[in-house]
């Protein structure tokens, strides 16, 4: 129950062509990861709308990671490039609202970089665990 007690809930949007394959390989290599993250597979990092990221915080996520292909290596030509710009802009908004842009992680890697996937998840888990609880942001439970 350690993960939930500290409320380190991390929602990962992983692109099906790079991030998710990296996750798959990490699994096959049995790399030990914290069980705090949930994955939503998406076709492309470009699919992740800023609105969805904000909704994730409202649904109890303490951190959101968007993991796509390398810039220049997107399966959909260059769709992840505007996505990066969009989400970087969102970080500013998160800073302004007080949630904090450091709760949003943008990661880029190729399908075979499973080490990077594992390191990213572990580091982000540690990072989010060190941040104050999101409880005050969440609506009171009925």
């Amino acid at each position: 129950m350690t993960a939930d007690a500290k409320n380190v809930n991390i929602l990962v949007f992983a692109c099906r062509w790079c991030g998710l394959i990296g996750a798959d390989t990490a699994g096959r290599r049995r790399m030990e990861l914290p069980a705090s993250f949930r994955v939503i597979p998406v076709e492309c990092a470009g699919y992740v709308e800023p609105d969805a990221v904000i909704r994730a915080y409202a649904s109890g996520a303490a951190g959101v990671a968007v993991l796509g292909c390398h810039i220049g290596g997107c399966r959909f030509n260059d769709a992840n490039h505007p996505a990066l710009k969009r989400l970087e802009l969102l970080k500013t908004l998160l800073d302004t609202t007080g949630i904090g842009g450091n709760r949003l992680l943008l990661g880029f890697g190729t399908a075979h970089e499973y080490h990077q996937w594992a390191d990213t998840i572990r580091a982000f888990h540690e990072h989010v665990a060190g941040l104050p609880s999101m409880a005050s942001w969440l609506p009171a439970k009925q």
Partner: protein, 568 residues
């Protein structure tokens, strides 16, 4: 609402020893959206797989959720096996309980079970809220348009005609041949340029499927893969065509070295093309010819190697030595680029024939001297560190191939990108003759500098790629995905919600979204063939008008809501 059938796999204990499958089964069975939950020992093995198939088909269930190993591995086989039984593969979703939960969270069984329950919940939400992209079939127009009748265009046109497709071959010149028409000898076979292409040119005349349009350019292109509406502007006025595919073989041109090494000021300083013209008119009058390589190439402005200039200089240097008694030829180079066995042998041959090679530094380029007429070249020999003076009466500048501005204009018309040098960009890295716009193929030097042999090979490659597309009568838009398997779906624009802001048009990486005027407002429309379902348009739409029905905003919203739901 169609209920979902759930299969959980124990994977001979690999999953079950970490994840409490029994509690997950109970939990799922309580969900009103679930029809049945079946826990299996090994879903991928023939016995269980057959039983699962029979269960799905017997109940007539459209939606299946697999909680087993990775969807990239054996679960893909299970999905495809279900697809064979008539189940829509897009309504079969897999959660990787093994790689994604059991194996990475082996030390935290409670956490792994919670995660597994959440992920299964999320995928259930996907299946319950997904809608179906209405597939459209594109009727393929049988003809092809080949733009440019150089080596690449000719071989593409002949290749397509041999496969039985009508070809419209256009060129801005009066006759086919392209740059090779001006070349008196083509390396490495040393045959005259027109002779090299003679068989292909004759075929364009004899094959009734090929129609050649001389002095003709493309005025406009509309449409998409399978149905391009092209307007040609030629001597007979405007011609309109409907073709299924377009092959771009517009070639490149040689850089004009104005102001470099005294070109334009000193007599006797010429380009490789002028050298070809001198050979065409007879023997050049010279006793000593000097060739300078990489003129205006491999520098900051043009960092690329044009690949053809080294063999070109070798060929012309050998001709000087061979045809003019007592004449000398010197090649000043930075590196001699002769890849492959044939060209390397060509270089050895030039060495044997007495062509001299001097290597210079890019920082200390040679200098041409002379008063009105070039008389000598000073070059700092990078190998022995001395400055040498070579008496000469002919200085030939090897300039690189550069992109034709007309190709860039065509690329804009065909909605395909060019690289930073103006060459047309292929789909990197595994589709060398395809472009971002399906149905538009590229070959030859419009794509990148290549030798005529390679251009012919690329033309044939483009012909085969185009033919494999044109060969079908109709193509379902959902199959146009460039990678094996079908697309997730394609974006759909809700005309009643669209305000015509154009965000989707700006962001679409395939130019699939178009604003269309209806009445007094503009609304977005998706060209289904082009859409690859990345979802970029959906993420920038301020009104939720753009959606991929399969993973619409309800799906994502519900998945987010369920991600951290408490598991008792």
């Amino acid at each position: 609402m169609t209920k979902t059938g759930v299969f959980l796999c124990n994977c001979y204990g690999e999953i079950g020893k970490v994840i409490d499958l029994e509690s997950i089964r109970k939990r799922l069975e309580a969900d009103p959206a679930v029809d049945f939950v079946s826990v299996r020992e090994s879903l991928c093995m023939p016995g269980d797989a057959a039983e699962a198939r029979a269960l799905v088909c017997g109940r007539g269930i459209g939606k299946v959720l697999l909680g087993a190993c990775s969807p990239y591995g054996r679960m893909e086989m299970v999905r495809l096996a279900l697809a064979k039984e008539g189940v829509d593969v897009r309504t079969v979703r897999a959660v990787d309980l093994r790689e994604g939960c059991a194996w990475v969270h082996g030390k935290d069984p409670a956490g792994a079970t919670r995660k597994a329950a959440n992920q299964l919940d999320m995928e259930l939400a996907f299946l319950q809220n997904m809608r179906d992209s209405k597939d459209v079939a594109v009727r393929i127009q049988q003809g092809a348009l080949v733009i440019g009748a150089g080596p690449a265009g000719l071989s593409a046109a002949c290749g397509l005609a041999r496969l039985g497709f009508p070809v419209h071959l256009i060129d801005r010149g009066t006759s086919p041949g392209g740059l090779l028409n001006m070349v008196t000898r083509v390396y490495p076979s040393d045959v005259p340029g027109p002779e090299k292409l003679a068989a292909l040119v004759a075929e364009t005349r004899s094959n009734p499927l090929i129609r050649f349009y001389g002095k003709t350019k493309v005025a406009s292109v509309r449409g998409y893969a399978g149905d391009f509406k092209v307007a040609l502007a030629g001597p007979e006025g405007k011609t309109t065509l409907r073709v299924g595919a377009v092959v771009l073989a517009t070639g490149a041109r040689l850089l004009f070295p104005q102001g470099l090494y005294g070109y334009g000021k000193l007599k006797g300083v010429i380009t490789q093309m002028e050298m070809e013209r001198q050979f065409a008119a007879g023997k050049p009058a010279c006793q000593s010819a000097v060739f300078i390589q990489c003129v205006g190439a491999r520098n900051a402005e043009r960092p690329y190697c044009s690949t053809i200039c080294c063999p070109l200089s070798l060929k012309n240097a050998m001709r000087i030595v061979d045809e003019i008694p007592g004449a000398k030829a010197t090649v000043l180079h930075r590196d001699i680029m002769t890849p492959g066995s044939v060209l390397e042998a060509y270089y050895r041959k030039a060495l044997r024939m007495g062509v001299q090679f001097i290597r210079f530094d890019a920082d200390r380029p040679p200098e041409a001297r002379g008063d009105g007429q070039v008389s000598a070249v000073d070059v700092f020999d990078a190998i022995n560190g001395t400055t040498r003076t070579i008496e000469t009466d002919l200085l030939v500048l090897s300039t690189p191939l550069v992109a034709d501005p007309e190709s860039a204009a065509l690329a804009r018309m065909l909605e395909i990108p060019v690289d930073r040098h103006g060459f047309i960009a292929e789909v990197y890295p595994v589709h060398p003759v395809e472009t971002r716009n399906d149905g538009v193929f590229i070959c030859g030097t419009a794509r990148w500098p290549v030798s005529s042999d390679q251009a012919v090979a690329q033309g044939e490659a483009a012909a085969v790629k185009a033919a494999s597309f044109l060969g079908r009568q109709t193509v379902p838009a959902l199959s146009m995905s460039r990678v094996p398997g079908t697309k997730l779906g394609h974006a759909e624009a809700d005309a009643s919600a669209c305000t015509g802001c154009g965000n989707c048009v700006a962001v679409c990486p395939y130019s699939a979204c178009k604003l269309q005027r209806t009445g007094n407002r503009s609304v977005s429309r998706v060209i289904k063939v082009r859409c690859k379902a990345c979802g970029s348009c959906a993420s920038v739409c301020p009104n939720g008008a753009m959606q991929i029905p399969e993973q619409n905003y309800r799906v994502t919203g519900e998945m987010i809501r369920r991600a951290f739901r408490e598991v008792p």
